[in-house]
Each structure stands twice: as structure tokens, then as C-alpha cells.
Amino acid sequence: MEREAMEFDVVIVGGGPAGLAAAIRLRQLAAEHDRELSVCVLEKGSEIGAHILSGAVMEPRALNELIPDWQARGAPLNTPASEDRFMFLTEKRAFRFVTPPQQANHGNYIVSLGNVCRWLAEQAEELGVEVLPGFAAAEVLYDDNGAVRGVATGDMGRTREGEEGPNFTPGYELLARITLFGEGCRGSLTKTLFERFGLREGVDPQVYGLGVKELWEIDAAKHVPGQITHTAGWPMDMSTYGGSWMYHFEDNLVSIGFVVGLDYQNPYLSPFEEMQRFKTHPLIREVLEGGRRLAYGARAISAGGFQSIPKLSFPGGLLIGDGAGFLNVPKIKGTHTAMKSGMTAAEAVFEALADESASGVEVTGYRERLEQTWLWDELYRVRNIKPSFHWGLPLAFAYSAIDTVLLRGKAPWTLRHRPDHEQLKPAAACKPIEYPKPDGVLTFDRLSSVFLSNTNHEEDQPCHLTLRDDSVPVQVNLARYGGPEQRYCPAGVYEFVEEGGESRLQINAQNCVHCKTCDIKDPTQNINWVTPEGGGGPNYPNM
């Protein structure tokens, strides 16, 4: 069946902070210059915010620039940061350390980033942006010269076998003069652009972390609005990068989460269970006891920073937000940089499109502009912190202090990254980790957790977790690494099951929360995450 096509000046893939900020900025500029400019934002989640998961402490710097009267417009930044605590944990004790300067949060707000995005989408719609949730960009479209000319949304109503079902509706071609890709960390189309245009040549590989988050409603007597706690140490060992957050925000809510660097080496490690175990620490247990867990989710983040920023432009398109990797790791914040990248891209694109005939051009002005902004300076200064964690925690702490305080981020060297999927050691060389059984009150199993992500996918559709080679899971992943996908997937998607004395990988794609960890950590890069039917995936409330 033929696909229908629609034309826009700019198509933005992804309704997160980067994409929405870009859309808003484009329409602001169009209004200021009295120019017609059609902008559409595609979002694979069932609504804006459905797939957004973040801590989040938000630095309002970019928002101040974009919408200076955000307070009057009712932006959901309701809880100013009050107290910052940085704790080092051992199994039973917590030691308060000096808060690293990057983590000082005075002037920042504790927010639900999902709710911030819902609000940003309202602002965008008011400005005339077509915001289209429930449609996944599944394919990049190219013109005869090889320039990006838009994206196609996925077909709806294909059966599991890929046939056209009774309600089959073909995807749409959204054609654009410029397409902005703001898919977030490990975007599935962005990944194909990296390859096609060689955007990662000459830069470090991207490295990642997996954040597992829970939202709790706690006893009002224990609630300290604005309190921010970060921890390092237990339950991670000294050689594994990981840490936690705990933020008290509005309505007795506490956002709590644990991030594990996906460069971990022991295939027995389970980020989900580390998060569960972490909650049993006296410091955390005391806060959560008597409360109830409201929501659960997980998402990978880009942690490579400055040295992993790819080439950002190519004919017909630009990369914005965490898909490009603008997260500031020591600050543990990426919303302000994502928004800033979107805004800067919007300005460059607006300039480039002033020429009515411009289409499929490469907007190199984006990077030039970006290099002049605070974003670039900020990421440059902290570039050596994360890679120093390869040396283990004590050395990394010492190095980070020297790099930050004495060298002020201007060290004449840059430490390098190694790809996460190459880091796993064979199971035989590692010690299995015994995780405690969940108690159903403070700690939980995967399935009851995934239940709270409200994730759902139409059952009768092709599996969106594709394998390049079907034999690899058993012959390599299980045989050599003990089936690590069963443990790193925070949603219980991957299960090795025994049938007639033989193991086989079962993929429960319906559970997927779109965190992208499998696509990142699979040791032979055999798993390829592609977009399922639009509207599928988690439905995060207040995350």
C-alpha cells in the first residue's frame, strides 16, 4: 500500500526537552520575523511525557532563556532545591562528604521531567507546533542526493508475522526541509545516521549508564521538600561506576533511583536488583518505610560527555539532546543542555531556511553556534571526570577533585572512553552475585515493577527487539556470559527457557520500557532495538 506524504518545513523526531525546546524556539523566531514556518513534533509515546523518565533536578538556565515568564505560565517547577547531601555508603553506614561543586543545586528545581515536557508541549501547541504523540518515526527518508528529507512513521496493524492485519494502516511520510533528531539516548534512527554519515568517526565511543527509578509517596513527617541526596559506594564495588539519587519534591513524593555505568564487567550484575538492594540501606529504608511505591521505570543515559559528541550535522538533518549526548555527568543533569542544544539548532535552522529554496542542506552553523554557548564550555570542563572512574572509586575521587578544583577543567589532557559492550568478562571469570529476595514492601521483583510502568504493546505486531543472528543468544550470550540480558534488562523482557533439554531465548517484547540497555550492552551488538507501533511502551505518570 502507498504511504501518504505530508510536508513541513521542519520535522522533529522526539517530544522530549530538546525537541520541544527546538519547536518552541522555531515558532518564536517565525513569529518575530513574521515568516511562515511549519513545525511538527513526532513522539512515539502515547502522549507527551509518557516515555520521559528523569530524576530530576532541573537547572532552569535554558528555560529562562526560552520562556522567561515560565513561572507566570504555570510551568511545573514547584520545588526549589534546598539541601544538598552527598553521601558515601558502606553496607550499614553513610558518611557525608563535601558536595562536589558540580552538584551544588542552589537555584535549581526538583521536577517531574515528564510533567515539564507535558507543559512544554502545551506551550509549543499554543505557538502553532503540530505535536503528534502516538506516532513512532521508524525510518529515515533520503532524497536522490542522499540528503535526509524526513522520516516515515511505522505501519500500524501488522501482525506478529509481519502480514497486514484487518486494521492495517500504512505509515506516513513526513517530508521536511530539515529534520531534527531528538530521540534521546541511543535513538534507533540516530544510530543509523551515525553509520550512514560516519558521524562518530574520530570521536570517542558513547558510553552509557542505566538509571532505574521509583516514585514513592512517603509519610508526611519524613518529607523534606527540596532535599537532594546523592550517594556513591555500596552496593557497588570499588571498580563499578554507580550511584543513587533521592529527591523529595511536591505532595510527599520522593523520586529515588540508582544509576549503574553500563561499562560494568561482571555479567552477573543486575542493575534492577542493585536498585532493590540499595533501598535496604538504613539511610533509605528509614525514609521509605511506611510509604508506598507509585511508579517504576528505567532509561539509559549517555555518559560520554564532551569527547563522545559526534558530528552533529549532515545533509538535511541535525542531532539534538541526549541522542547526541549532551548530558553533564558530574552534574548528573542533561535537561538544560538538551534544551539548549534544541534552541541553538532551531536558531541555526531558522537562519538556514531563510533561503526559501533551501532543503536538504547541511546546517553547519549549528555546531559553530553551539561552540559559542555555555553548553560547550560546561561540557568541556567536566570531560575528564567520568573516564577517571575506570581507575576505581578512590583514585577517581582524588582525580576528580584535582581536575575540578586545581585545574578547573582545563587539564591539558583528555581521558578516553571504551565501548560498554566490550567490557563484559566471561561468566566463568566472575563471581555470581547473590541478591536478596524481594520482600514485596520495600523491595520488589521485576514483574510487579514493570506493572507500575503502565507499559503496553499491541500483542499482535512484529517483535521490536530484533536479533541479527538468532543463534547468538544461546551460543555466545548464554554460553560465554551466562545470559546477561536476563539481568541487565530492567523489565524482564529477556528470559532463557529450557525446552526439551535445550535453552532458547524468549523475548517478552510487551514488557519493554524503551530504556535501550539491550541495544547498548549486548556483547556482540546482536540485539537491534527498533520502534514498535506508535503509542506502545510505558505510560509514566509524574516521572
Binding site: M156, N167, N542
Partner: protein, 249 residues
């Protein structure tokens, strides 16, 4: 012929409903809301009748807060011609909804009203029946099949013992059951077109209806957590437990 179809903005079917901490209601703060799935089936049926050439106009009506506009836009993106929002921030119960719908029917003069059999939030299953009674119209509830011919309506209903087929005089009220049809996917261009379709807003007072609640909710609580199972040594112990503890035999 004109068809009126009623659509409710309800908690999304994927979302796990959870009571507020004070037990006063289900917590809806920033929770995803969407069109009640049975109403989606009602909309689909109305559009199919129109596409078959039997109806000349389809109108969707929703009752509730301003955000119900989105629900109406969805109905219009599916294919309904226009929307009416009876805007109120009050908690409207089935009787109030039925009265408001009757007032809209009086105004719009449709020959057929299609509703979902119930909404997945309160599961009342009352509005369609009440509306038919207030209008004095025939009703075909739990419809699994609808056929229109020569001024009468044949409705197939799923009942406990099988399928019951009713013949109704028009005008009539029909409530849609799960197997009536499978709603279509909304087409992307139609979402943009729907933004330009007419949407009128009325207030309950314009319709002369008092929406004050007649029922009060005492408490909203989670169902009791499932207890873990136990193992019994033999059949005698099992029978004993079933008889004396569970009291099921």
C-alpha cells in the same frame, strides 16, 4: 439521519488506577487520560454507519472538564463530523450525564444515540439505560452487532446464555459492547484536520440541568493484597480447609 455518540474522558486503560492517599478518589494527577475504550467502539460504529451511507451526520458529545476537548478531537480524527462539549468541573454522575445527554438530544434531534456500555473508570453501566428511559426511546444495550434497515434497528446482544437479537423502533439508544467492532487507527492527517472541525461548548446551566451529585463516595481503597498460597498434606485437609476456613463448600 443524524447519530449522536457520547464519549467520556477516562483514565487510560494501560494505567494502573490507584486511590489517593486519603482514600477520597482515584488519583488522577498527571495520569494519562484517554477516550473510554467502549466509547471508542461506539464512535467506530457511528462512523461505519455513516460510511455505509445510512447516516448523514455524526456528532460526538462529551461531558466534563476542558480537557475533554482532546477526547472530542480524537473522535473527530476518527471521523465524526463535529463535537459538543458540555463543560463542567463538577463530578458528574450517571443520572446527571443522562439528563445532560437528553438535553443535547432535544437540541440536536438525532435518531440514534450510541454510547459505550460503561466507562472503565467507574464501571457504572447506567447512563445509556437512564438516557433511554428519560427519552422514552427503545434501547439496545451490550450491542455486539447493529443493523439498520427500513426505520428499524436490529441489535445483537451478548447475554449469558448466548446471543439475543432485538428489533428496535427508531429513534433508539444503543450501548456498545467489546465485540461490536474493532476501532480503526487514527490517521495522522486526520488528527490535523480534526483541529479544524467545529467544536461547540455548552454549560450545564445552558441546558437547564442540575448536575448536583445524588450519590456520595464513602471510600476508595485498593483491593486486599493477595495472600500467598499454602500447601496441604492431603485431600482431607484440603476439604476441611475449603469447608471450614474458606467456607466455599
Amino acid at each position: 439521519m443524524k447519530i449522536l455518540v457520547a464519549v467520556k474522558r477516562a483514565i487510560d486503560y494501560n494505567v494502573k488506577a490507584r486511590p489517593k492517599a486519603d482514600g477520597s478518589a482515584v488519583d488522577l494527577a498527571n495520569v494519562k487520560m484517554s477516550m473510554n475504550p467502549f466509547d471508542e467502539i461506539a464512535v467506530e460504529e457511528a462512523i461505519r454507519i455513516q460510511e455505509a451511507g445510512t447516516a448523514s451526520e455524526t456528532v460526538a458529545v462529551s461531558i466534563g472538564p476542558k480537557q475533554c476537548q482532546e477526547t472530542l478531537r480524537t473522535a473527530m480524527a476518527m471521523g465524526v463530523d463535529r463535537g459538543i462539549l458540555v463543560e463542567t468541573d463538577e463530578d458528574v454522575q450517571p443520572l446527571a450525564v443522562a439528563k445532560l445527554l437528553k438535553a443535547v438530544v432535544d437540541k440536536e434531534q438525532p435518531e440514534l444515540v450510541i454510547l459505550g456500555k460503561q466507562a472503565i473508570d467507574d464501571d457504572s453501566n447506567q447512563t445509556g439505560q437512564m438516557l433511554a428511559a428519560l427519552l422514552g426511546w427503545a434501547q439496545g444495550t451490550f450491542a455486539a452487532g447493529v443493523e439498520l434497515a427500513d426505520g428499524s434497528l436490529t441489535v445483537r446482544r451478548e447475554i449469558d446464555g448466548g446471543i439475543q437479537t432485538l428489533k428496535l423502533k427508531m429513534p433508539a439508544v444503543v450501548t456498545a459492547d467489546l465485540r461490536l467492532n474493532e476501532p480503526r487507527y487514527v490517521k495522522l492527517p486526520n488528527i490535523m484536520k480534526a483541529k479544524k472541525k467545529p467544536l461547540d461548548t455548552l454549560a450545564p446551566a445552558d441546558l437547564g440541568v442540575d448536575v448536583a451529585p445524588r450519590l456520595s463516595v464513602l471510600k476508595v481503597a485498593e483491593p486486599p493484597a493477595r495472600q500467598g498460597g499454602i500447601k496441604v498434606p492431603d485431600v482431607a485437609a484440603l476439604v476441611d480447609k475449603l469447608r471450614n476456613e474458606a467456607k466455599v463448600i
